[in-house]
């Protein structure tokens, strides 16, 4: 039994379970049915959105209250480029959506990332409001009545588009943040900016890069989302509650953990859908999200996932297995403690 445990927690075991998860995800539309495929499309989208928030929030140490701006910018970019008359190919619009979002992030981030976090938080929030007002007010976005996109009714098309975007996002972020120099730079700047500078790290540049990375992802996802729902307006792609949701998903999953975003997104998206189904609106969900953020910060600042992490995880497993099984190989059980996830 403890061997099985060791297998799951070992490096090869983790790779195997990841491969299994991917296999399930890739084959899902074949056996999961339309409804659940759509739900899973939403989960993958939110997982990547929460991850993108986590890049600047958890790894960069700067809280963004306006991340929806990049999502909306991406959505409008794709919508504008696919409009009759421009008529771009859908896939060609996505890199543009990502680049536009990142460019806005760099312009806005440049002055405020030099200042303390509160400036950044409010500036990003104000950016989102400003973008929403502009989208509402100017002509070419259709104002509050929004824009329509060409219709593509294939459920699995969008499922795979989101899945690819999501897997790519997680892959790129994992490599950049956990397996490369960039991750060390960013975490050093987050933990002690002055000290990071004293080791030659260009702190402003690193923060800007992180913010740009964190904006590219919602930019691209916004583009896919726009094509998916075929009609966008400021209320659907620039609503502040989308940011709230990213914040709470990242917090539930734990700041500065790659996998946390996925767990947080899955749990909260399902709760969100449940609220929609039971109450027909999501205003009470907003209240729940707010309460959840406050409670997590108060009692579980490492994220709800930390309840099951590392030492707790092993303890939990042992408790579940009962004390009947002798602890034959404690070293195997301790292994997860050796590779700290937010190293």
């Amino acid at each position: 039994m403890s061997r099985a445990l060791a297998l799951v927690t070992s490096r090869g075991g983790r790779a195997a379970s990841l491969a299994l998860l991917l296999l399930v995800l890739v084959s899902f539309p074949g056996w999961g049915g339309d409804y659940w495929t759509r739900i899973l499309t939403g989960v993958t989208m939110w997982a990547a959105l929460a991850l993108s928030w986590n890049v600047i929030g958890g790894y960069g140490g700067y809280i963004s209250f306006g991340h929806v701006a990049f999502f909306g910018i991406g959505a409008y970019t794709t919508a504008l480029l696919m409009k009759p008359g421009t008529g771009w190919n859908f896939f060609a619009t996505l890199p543009v959506a990502g680049i536009v979002a990142a460019a806005v992030a760099v312009i806005v981030g440049w002055p405020v990332l030099k200042l303390r976090g509160a400036y950044f938080a409010i500036a990003t929030w104000a950016l989102a409001e400003a973008v929403a007002q502009i989208a509402n007010g100017v002509g070419f976005t259709g104002g509050s009545s929004g824009m329509s996109l060409p219709i593509n009714a294939s459920t699995s098309f969008f499922y795979y588009a989101m899945l690819v975007a999501c897997v790519l996002s997680f892959g790129v972020c994992y490599v950049l943040l956990e397996r490369s120099r960039f991750g060390y730079r960013l975490k050093a700047v987050r933990d002690h900016e002055v000290a990071a500078g004293s080791f030659g790290i260009n702190t402003t540049a690193v923060k800007l890069q992180a913010f740009a990375l964190s904006a590219v992802i919602p930019g691209v996802l916004g583009g896919i989302f726009a094509y998916w729902i075929t009609f966008i307006n400021p209320a659907s792609v620039l609503d502040g509650s989308l940011t709230d949701q990213m914040v709470v998903m990242a917090l539930v999953g734990g700041l500065g953990r790659i996998s946390g975003a996925a767990v947080g997104a899955a749990v909260l998206y399902l709760i969100n859908q449940q609220f929609l189904a039971s109450f027909g609106d999501t205003t009470s969900y907003i209240a729940v999200v707010g309460a959840l953020v406050a409670l997590i910060v108060l009692f579980r600042p490492d994220g709800l996932v930390s309840l099951f992490a590392r030492g707790n995880q092993t303890r939990l497993v042992w408790q579940l297995l009962g004390r009947a099984i002798p602890r034959a190989r404690p070293s195997a059980a301790q292994r997860p403690g050796k590779t700290k996830e937010h190293a």
Binding site: G61, Y62, I63, F65, V108, P111, V112, K114, L115, R116, G117, A118, Y119, A121, I122, A123, W125, A126, L127, E129, A130, Q133, I134, N136, G137, R190, D191, G240, D244, V247, L251, T283, S284, Y285, I286, A287, V288, V289, G290, A291, L292, V293, A294, L295, I296, V297, L298, P301
Partner: protein, 291 residues
């Protein structure tokens, strides 16, 4: 020409209320070292308290102001220790977590009110002061005048308290330097709670009048958070004196944009200017704050 004067005057009068809602915000930042993202929610909740006073209790909101103050001061008194706890926790990034905490509270307030009253805009019907006062070519709505008078009195009393009383001295000492204030025998935690409670009450009262001048919806809180933040950035984060000027500037700016551009772009323009100030002079136009 008279339109311009009218517009500027209207702006100055509303600016008074912006001063009131920003001054407590600025001070609570100084004392608690937390940017309270919920500042706009106190305005929103205050406005709905005003709505409740007319629809349920049939009391004029002006007469109801003391009740609003006491009620929200008590709520603030209950919330403050939680903020203090997060801010002073051994967590890795207490300042950001405290910000996230107030964000959570703000979201809770917004979601709760949306669930309770929906998205429809409401107006606080203030019966005592209606109509306009004519001054030469310009007409001033009496309500705005009353709003300004309230702001002047409230801010004046607040400043008197801050600069002429022993408790006010303690508050300023904590805002300057918590450690030294603590060494000098000031109870930092008590002072923080007190300031937050005072600020919550004051801001909610301003909300009643703002809800009378403009209409308000349950999702308007963040807009007023941006207003307060704009004022405080212009003034320099932590500078109480600068708020007096910056609040009036915002009032005039908002009024000018509404009349000469469009109310739809107020936030976008306010953000644009905020951004420019941050680029040019992050410590505020008076260079008195901390970046």
């Amino acid at each position: 020409m008279s339109l311009l004067i009218q517009t500027i005057l209207n702006g100055l009068l509303v600016g008074g209320l912006f001063v009131t809602l920003s001054i407590g915000f600025s001070l609570s930042f100084g004392v608690l070292d937390v940017v309270d993202f919920a500042v706009g929610e106190w305005v929103m909740l205050g406005a709905f308290a005003g709505v409740a006073s007319t629809t349920w209790l049939r009391i004029d909101p002006i007469a109801f102001l003391p009740v609003v103050f006491v009620f929200f001061a008590v709520v603030g008194w209950l919330v403050a220790p939680l903020i203090y706890r997060v801010r002073n926790s051994r967590n890795a990034r207490p300042a950001l977590m405290a910000l996230a905490f107030t964000f959570g509270l703000a979201t809770l307030a917004r979601g709760g009110m949306l669930t309770a009253v929906g998205f429809d805009p409401r107006t606080v019907k203030i019966g005592v002061v209606q109509g306009t006062v004519t001054l030469g070519a310009v007409e001033i709505p009496t309500l705005r005048l009353a709003g300004f008078a309230f702001a002047a009195v409230a801010t004046g009393l607040f400043m008197l308290f801050l600069y002429r009383t022993r408790t006010g001295l303690a508050v300023r000492a904590v805002a300057q330097n918590k450690e030294i204030a603590g060494l000098m025998g000031v109870d930092v935690k008590r002072t923080s709670n007190f300031v937050y409670s005072l600020y919550a009450g004051l801001t909610s009262m301003a909300g009643v009048l703002i809800g009378g001048i403009y209409s308000i919806t349950a999702q308007d809180g963040p807009t007023y958070t941006l207003m307060a933040f704009f004022v405080v950035v212009l003034a320099g984060l932590g500078s109480v004196g600068g708020v007096l000027v910056a609040g009036l500037v915002l009032g005039v700016l908002e009024s000018l944009v509404t009349v000469y551009v469009s109310a739809d772009f107020t936030l976008a323009i306010v953000f644009g200017i905020l951004f420019l100030v941050l680029v040019i002079s992050p410590r505020g136009i008076l260079r008195r704050g901390t970046a």
